[in-house]
Amino acid sequence: MSPLSPRTRSRAAGAVVAAVLALGVGVLPSIASAAGLAGRTTGTGSVTTGTWGVTAAVTSMSFNTNTAQSTAVTNTGTVASSAESFVVTVSKPFFFTPTMTVFECPVPWVGTTCSGGPGTPVGGTLTAGTTTTVTSTTGLAPGASFYLEVVPAGVFILTTTVTLTPEVTSPGQLRPPVRTNQ
């Protein structure tokens, strides 16, 4: 074996010191963590969250006359709603300022009658050129529907457009919370 040069010996010594230090660093935490016992237990359970929301079959209506138009509103979520809001925008024609009124009915409208009656107003009178949020407090089970009708009033020379955007906000517009014990 050839004798080691001083430089090689120095490198070897450095390597030994580094190895000892690394061993110490690795061993010390193990000793520390092994200082006590821990008891551990686990339990599992799965959960799925619901969805909420309603859709309007027709979200845009054009009016050239005083003829009312209707749309179905259906709960397409998996959680019942307790109320639904509708953002209603009425465009402003160049001539005149017609108004709109929204009514709801639990069954499909027949003309302007709801089961022989006028239906239930949702919000007040809406003026052309405004955007208003109206709210129905009718609860809808998943898959259930009610029917809105927009009744125009005033003079129509040019087309007035009404857009309906239904919204459901949690938790306020959902069914009351349910408490389950199992």
Binding site: P3, G36, L37, A38, G39, R40, T41, T42, G43, T44, G45, S46, V47, T48, T49, G50, T51, W52, G53, V54, T55, A56, T59, T76, G77, T78, V79, T165, P166, E167, V168, T169, S170, P171, L174, R175, P176, P177, V178, R179, T180, N181, Q182
Partner: protein, 220 residues
Amino acid sequence: MSPHRHTRKKTRSTGRLAVTGLLVTSAALLATAGVYAGLSATATGAESVSTGSLDLTLAPDVGVGFSNFTGKLAPGDTDNVYVNLKNTGTLASAAGMTLAVAGNPVTALTSGSVAGEGLTVSATQCSVAWTLATGTCTGTTTPILTTTLASALAAPVALSNIPALAAATGQVAHVQVTLGLVANETSTNGVAPAATVQGLSTTLTYTFTEQQRTGVATNQ
């Protein structure tokens, strides 16, 4: 003769000397050991020891315990399960326990990706077994975890008011664990927001951990 040859010869000579020295020293040591072998004396003492164990078990208190929630959880809903935490080991635990909750798969329900929304967990201890039908405690209740987003329980969180919770050997803690959902979301024309907790599923793993009591020094 070249200078290299001279150096090699010198090295060989030094090596022979070292080997001879080692042999002489070894012989001397062996001889000394032989002298003392006849004079050794031995004393023995015996002591037995058993180690303790620290075991924490989980079982239903009333009802089915941790299980699947079969409905569709809505914001504000709560699902209560009732479990017993029992120290079945032979060692008392230290006054303290942690709870961690992990979701699999990781979704917005447990990741905290939708600010302020997601599953929540709370826990309450009852001094006696819970009444399943009403979800009430006829004894004394002690809140041990206030309503906390599951995303904040990814790392173990210390439960509060723990000193009496499964601390002594054989002691049972009757715990109601409540799962809830927090969500403030508006769905527009039936469409949920882009960041939502609606329509998600996950399996939650609840991990309770306790530590052993402080070590005891005995003099006898």
